[in-house]
């Protein structure tokens, strides 16, 4: 992908991305249509309200204002993404309301996991062979295999149920009418457990990748030279060595970040966190087609945008990629 096609932002630049975006728009429109069942079936099929054939036809008539792909495309451009069938609200407004929560939770988790994983990886490689390094590698390898649901549930049980330190879910205390400092504390209080779950999921990979990269770099001649020049060890470690271990970790960061929406699904559901994952989850359950399409499209375009951003960033961080053109 990125490593193998450094020309992506070179001469044949944006065409590939535009083409991919068009395909994604088509898929975001078409794929949810293939889901079996529709809104009326999903919502009224097992509700306490039993519709007769006439009422059902009437309801279908009222809700069925779909005008096909052209209208969908035009709607995308004009930011008119249709109305949620379940909430009778413009989809754009729903997505806009959910996005900040997902960005807050997932963005913070990725940044924390990147920073901590990177520093821990560099330090571990520097202390190669030590007891701490071995324990770190062992622990990270195990943690990496634990899915979010496997770490989220025990964390919830221990810290929320048994110790009672954190709330069971949500983003803030509902209708508490807090502001300023108390509001921020309340927010962080709710953020802690889902954030910890995600950091535990993302950190081990960053750590292992950095460490592996660093171990290779630490053996190279140019570092020998740097040391021989008498540079302080911290400078050798971070400015000379770690910079080169950063590339693959950044790539990983970007790719993981790109899967933000799907990554949010599990954790947001466990902790009833009000983000795009929860929005998508509820929308699929009730076959709220316009909402599914919008979230799927957003997720797909996010992946593209981040890929593009990464390609550009790579050229800055590693001049060889730019010169290779």
């Amino acid at each position: 992908m990125i490593q193998s096609s450094p020309t992506a932002t070179g001469r044949q630049p944006l065409y590939a991305y535009l083409l991919a975006a068009l395909v994604m728009i088509g898929l975001s429109y078409g794929l949810p249509l293939l889901l079996p069942g529709d809104y009326i079936e999903a919502v009224y099929g097992s509700s306490h309200v039993v519709l007769d054939a006439e009422q059902e036809a009437q309801l279908r008539d009222e809700l069925g204002d779909r005008e096909g792909f052209t209208a969908y495309l035009w709607g995308l451009v004009t930011l008119d993404w249709g109305h949620s069938l379940a909430l009778q609200t413009p989809v754009f407004r729903l997505v806009l309301a959910a996005l900040p929560w997902t960005l807050l939770l997932l963005g913070t988790a990725h940044l924390l996991a990147l920073a901590l994983g990177f520093i821990a990886g560099v330090e571990a490689a520097w202390r190669r062979g030590g007891r701490l390094e071995k324990a770190g590698v062992g622990g990270a390898t195990i943690l990496q295999g634990v899915p979010e649901i496997g770490s989220g549930a025990p964390l919830l049980l221990l810290f929320a149920y048994h110790l009672g330190w954190f709330p069971a879910g949500g983003a803030t205390t509902a209708y508490a009418e807090l502001s300023g400092g108390p509001w921020l504390l309340d927010l962080l209080h709710h953020l802690a457990l889902p954030l910890l779950t995600l950091v535990l999921a993302y950190l081990p990979g960053n750590f292992l990748l950095t460490r592996a990269g660093m171990v290779m770099i630490l053996g190279s001649n140019y570092l020998e030279t740097a040391r021989a020049k008498g540079l302080p060890p911290l400078r050798v470690r971070y400015v000379h060595a770690a910079r080169n271990a950063l590339l693959p970790v950044l790539t990983r960061f970007g790719l993981r970040l790109a899967f933000m929406v799907t990554g949010a699904l599990v954790v947001e559901t466990i902790f009833a966190y009000p983000g795009l994952g929860t929005l998508l989850f509820t929308a699929i359950g009730s076959r709220d087609l316009p909402v599914i399409q919008a979230v799927v499209l957003l997720a797909a375009l996010l992946i593209l945008a981040i890929n593009l951003g990464l390609a550009l960033l790579h050229r800055r961080l590693d001049p060889r990629i730019g010169h290779a053109l």
Partner: protein, 367 residues
């Protein structure tokens, strides 16, 4: 027939997008204040001028949580539906546990329009083959009761205690299959006209009492039917997908469930008749018995309670004999609340409205 206040609706030109606070019109002890679409939370405030007095709690807040146990014990929530296995822990922490009448049943839907399910004796064979006590014990730690084959809850005032039953009897199931022309092969699996008796069973994650859980019942039923010589392919699908297939008759057997069986016997029409129940995925939509069809209609207009009871009794007997679907069990429906808040919650007998099994009755909140 909904009544719309003219002074509010006369100005509205786009009813679909009219969801301002003024659109929420009610007559109860609480006033709607807010619905947070992102968080799924609701806020209601006490209506001071309510004719039965100002309600005791100033605000009612509804929260979305996947973890009722943690939300209750952490003090985030004062009332929640819980799974039966949580009851003991919550009781130890000072919560009051309340149980509902049996008003929800898990059901095995049968596509009685297809062979071999269009044979009544085949459906009866299935009933004899299934051990409902085992499903409750192994799949639900014993928290439940086998359901009446008459569909109406055993707690219903019109429940007919003489409703025919199908005690688990694998020998009887085999006998019925053999009467229908099935022959067992060397491994004990049945065949007819050279075709193996192989059924498809749809199962899905199901939401019962506010909790979504993976369904283990399908696996247990698969083994039970296997034991009498019926091969079963178990297909686990997401619920809306299963529902869609059941609705469009693209299934053979499917696990499903519904409430309302403790409320008005209207539910019998909705869950049995093909005409009224057409829109419900839980309705058997069975019109194969003329007497049953007639009685279902007749009880709807019977004004004399004794006459209606007689009709409803007979309907239960006919349903049990025809087995258009197999009522499996009533899961224990429990809720827990924090008594320190001074509100005594209870389940309304027969459910709220047409039988909705929730423990929120406004009487709990009145002075």
């Amino acid at each position: 027939m909904p009544i719309l206040p003219r002074h509010i609706w006369r100005e509205v030109s786009d009813p679909r997008n009219f969801n301002e606070p003024a659109a929420f019109i009610g007559s109860g002890p609480y006033v709607f204040k807010n619905f947070d679409q992102t968080r799924g939370s609701y806020l209601y405030e006490a209506f001071a001028d309510y004719y039965q007095g100002r309600p005791t709690a100033d605000r009612l807040i509804y929260l979305r949580t996947g973890q009722p146990l943690v939300a209750l014990s952490g003090g985030q929530a004062d009332l929640a539906n819980i799974r039966p296995e949580m009851a003991e822990q919550l009781r130890q922490r000072g919560f009051e546990i309340i149980a509902d009448q049996r008003g929800w049943n898990k059901k095995l839907m049968i596509n009685h329009r297809r062979t071999p399910f269009n044979e009544r004796r085949f459906r009866q064979a299935l009933a004899y083959a299934i051990d409902r006590r085992e499903i409750i014990d192994r799949g639900h730690r014993g928290f439940g009761t086998p359901a009446s084959y008459g569909l109406l809850s055993v707690d219903h005032p019109m429940y007919n205690p003489k409703t025919p039953d199908y005690p688990t009897d694998p020998a009887k199931a085999r006998q019925l299959l053999e009467e229908l022309g099935y022959r067992a092969d060397a491994r004990g699996y049945y065949h007819r006209d050279g075709h193996p008796l192989k059924l498809e069973l749809l199962a899905s994650t199901i939401t019962a009492a506010g909790e979504t859980a993976v369904d283990r019942d399908g696996e247990i039923i698969r083994r039970q039917l296997n034991a009498v010589g019926i091969q079963v392919e178990l297909v686990n699908l997401e619920q809306a997908t299963t529902d869609s297939r059941v609705r469009n008759w693209r299934f053979e057997l499917a696990l499903s469930g519904h409430g309302g069986i403790g409320g008005d016997p209207l539910i019998l029409v909705e869950m049995i008749s093909g005409e009224v129940g057409a829109g419900s995925v839980n309705s058997a939509r069975f019109d194969g018995n003329p007497e049953l069809n007639r009685l279902l209609q007749e009880q709807m207009t019977a004004m004399d309670p004794d006459k209606r009871r007689r009709l409803v009794y007979r309907i239960q007997e006919l349903h049990a004999r025809e087995v258009p679907a197999i009522p499996l069990y009533y899961p224990d429906t429990l809720a827990a609340y924090q008594p320190a808040r001074g509100i005594r919650w209870f389940f309304t007998p027969g459910g709220i409205g047409k039988g909705v099994p929730i423990p929120q009755n406004k009487v709990s909140l009145l002075p």
